[in-house]
């Protein structure tokens, strides 16, 4: 994006903000911004920051943009506190929001084009960009839902979900414990452990390996979640059946990947071990297993998401009044969507944390792999 276009963009944003001063902000008859001193100051400052960002040096421009966006978002949210605006927002309001959007976009684009020499600065920016982007998406969600007056049974605003989330922590914890600790974790450990052991045996006895690998690939492609009703039949309604589903889901990717990893050691390395007259156990321990680590962790990461999905879907088939999947299907039927979204938020946080922990463990043990050293 050339400098000329960026300047035009910022100036347009500034004009959009100022437009809210004259164009009506609500289809109801309400006082304009001139009657709200605090918000008026905020509006003028925002416009000034956007205009300033058009002409400032790159670094100052980015700071000005971010400050302006923060302020602009706060003003628009403040406007929504007026019940005559919320649900009836008109073009003045939306012009302000669009101006914020444009400025935010330019700000993120500016951040993305910065290439600092310092590695920590680069990493901070890499982290900041998606976070800012995400935060703005939440802002848009909030503003759109409340501004258009979308019924909360259909789509609740993030603020409402947050309130519900922090108001039901005990229920959320119980659901989390039931689904994740009892169902996912136990199934994950058993499934991955079994897949690993079978792969080690199949690697030792090549005939078995050549037979199991195609079957493992085949089964991995099947809709395994379908066995959930069968597991409920075998293990009852409670968490063991969910754990059983997770075991089956995680077994095959682990088997296939571990086997691929054990076979990944190069011919030269294998000849080297042969020249040392090393036994199978020694070769397994010193060559095959370390070389297989990247593949094993690849499977562990995939399995972390699959396990969670499997446990939740299994709960759709019946569970004692507890569990994330259970809660979602029940409350969705009751149209209590804020509870549903709170549960989804819980699932999102748990899922990302699980994946993140596995990824960290991966980095610690496979730091030597070329993909990290690029």
């Amino acid at each position: 994006m050339t400098l000329r276009w960026r300047q035009i963009g910022f100036l347009a944003a500034a004009f959009g903000v100022l437009a809210a001063l004259v164009v009506p902000i609500s289809s109801q008859a309400v006082e304009g911004l001139f009657a709200r001193p605090l918000l008026l100051i905020g509006t003028l400052l925002t416009a000034a920051l956007y205009a300033g960002a058009a002409f400032a040096s790159p670094l100052r421009s980015i700071t000005a943009t971010l400050a302006g966006v923060a302020l602009g978002c706060a003003v628009t949210l403040g406007l929504l506190d007026d019940s005559a605006v919320a649900g009836y927002a008109a073009s003045g309001f939306w012009l302000f929001v669009l101006a914020n959007w444009g400025a935010a976009w330019l700000g993120v684009a500016g951040l993305a084009s910065v290439r600092p020499h310092d590695k920590t600065a680069a990493r901070v920016i890499d982290l900041a960009i998606p976070l800012l982007f995400g935060a703005f998406v939440f802002y848009l969600w909030e503003v759109a839902v409340r501004g258009f007056g979308v019924p909360s049974v259909l789509l609740p605003p993030p603020s409402m979900i947050a309130v519900r989330f922090f108001g039901s922590l005990w229920m959320l914890w119980q659901d989390f414990f039931q689904t994740f600790i009892l169902g996912v974790l136990s199934g994950y450990i058993i499934g991955c452990g079994a897949g690993f052991l079978v792969a080690v045996v199949a690697h030792r006895y090549t005939f078995l390996g050549r037979g199991l690998l195609p079957i493992g690939n085949f089964v991995s492609a099947l809709p395994i979640v379908g066995i959930a009703p069968i597991m409920v039949m075998w293990f009852g309604f409670d968490w063991p059946s969910k754990a059983a589903v997770v075991v089956v889901i995680t077994f095959f990717p682990m088997l296939v990947n571990t086997l691929a990893g054990l076979n990944a050691a190069g011919d030269i390395e294998r000849d080297l071990m042969r020249s040392y007259a090393a036994g199978h156990q020694q070769t397994l321990q010193k060559l095959y297993l370390p070389a297989a680590m990247p593949f094993i962790f690849n499977a562990l990461k995939i399995n972390s998401t699959l396990a969670f999905i499997g446990a939740i879907v299994a709960e759709f088939f019946g569970t004692p009044t507890l569990g994330i999947g259970f809660r979602i299907s029940i409350e969705a039927g009751r149209m209590a969507l804020d509870v549903v979204w709170a549960e989804i938020a819980l699932a999102a946080i748990a899922g990302m944390a699980f994946y993140g922990i596995v990824a960290l463990a991966e980095r610690a043990t496979t730091f030597w792999h070329p993909s990290y050293r690029a």
């Binding site: 030269i268 000849d271 040392y276 020694q282 010193k286 680590m293 030597w368 070329p370």
Partner: protein, 291 residues
């Protein structure tokens, strides 16, 4: 009964001569020099999807202890295959071979040789010192002994100070030196090297050639070295075995005895060039330069 290579021999003036008794072994006479490798009539035929491929045909070879023997020839002439047979990484389909007086399998189980590949083959998840200690761990040396050997041999290849580094932090030449240290660490009598410097640039290669020579001189090991570089073969060896492809066989065995403290400058002397020419003549007669 004088037993000589059945291959044709070329004299230095290009004429055909009676077999040179360089490679004769009199089975009835007592051997004054111990033999590191003895091969008689070794052949190896591969079964491939396109039919049979004869990698080696009727190879006879003698390597005395303390020799530095190079196999030289174009790709596909069987030099690597012959090395792998000595290492018991392949088995011949005919003929007999002794390594240090025993069958190759015995020699491997008793760890008589150290093998060095074209690539350094260091484990990326181990530091340099743990890489060099790998064979020692497998062979059951205790920790103190391992530390001592690792330190000694890293010093010998001029890599002291790099113990805690990982392989990717070293250059190609240094990695290859580490793999040489690894092969030496358990002090085998025999070193088998398969084009160890082929992947390195020429200047590094020259430097490593000199270092390898010093090493050989200091440790007194027997070295069998595969290469496709004529100057390298002539510079390093006491004996050069010229091979030719399709099927792999020995064309010529050339002895050379340059002084053991030679440097790279010797490569421009007339004696050197004469031997290099003889090698090239052997390669030509073996159709190595044909399409």
């Amino acid at each position: 009964m004088a037993f000589a290579s059945a291959a044709t021999r070329l004299g230095t003036d290009g004429s055909m001569r009676a077999p040179d008794p360089i490679v004769s072994v009199d089975p009835t006479a007592k051997e004054s020099v111990a033999s590191a490798v003895q091969a008689r009539g070794v052949s190896l035929t591969f079964q491939t999807a396109d039919g049979e491929v004869q990698a080696l045909a009727n190879v006879d070879l003698d390597v005395a202890e303390g020799d530095f023997v190079s196999f030289i020839g174009p790709s596909g002439c069987g030099k690597t295959t012959l090395l792998r047979i000595i290492a018991d990484l392949e088995q011949p389909t005919a003929g007999s071979i002794l390594v240090n007086g025993v069958a190759p399998e015995q020699a491997r189980l008793q760890r008589h040789y150290g093998y060095i590949f074209q690539a350094a083959a260091l484990y990326p998840w181990r530091t340099i010192e743990r890489n060099v200690a790998l064979p020692l761990e497998i062979m059951g040396y205790d920790a103190a002994k391992r530390r001592e050997r690792v330190e000694h041999y890293l010093k010998l290849v001029n890599l002291s100070g790099f113990e805690r580094k990982f392989p990717w932090q070293l250059s190609g030449g240094m990695q290859q030196r580490a793999s040489i240290a690894r092969a030496l660490s358990f002090e085998p009598a025999l070193l088998l090297m398969d084009e160890p410097f082929g992947a390195l640039d020429e200047i590094v290669r020259d430097h490593l050639n000199e270092q390898l020579l010093r090493l050989w001189d200091q440790t007194g090991k027997t070295v069998v070295f595969v290469t496709h570089s004529i100057p390298e073969a002539v510079f390093l060896s006491t004996k050069i075995v010229v091979m030719s492809p399709r099927p792999g066989r020995i064309i010529d065995v050339i002895a050379s005895d340059f002084p053991r403290n030679r440097t790279l400058e010797i490569r421009e002397t007339p004696e050197f060039l004469k031997i290099a020419q003889r090698v090239r003549a052997g390669l030509r007669s073996g159709h190595s330069y044909d399409e």
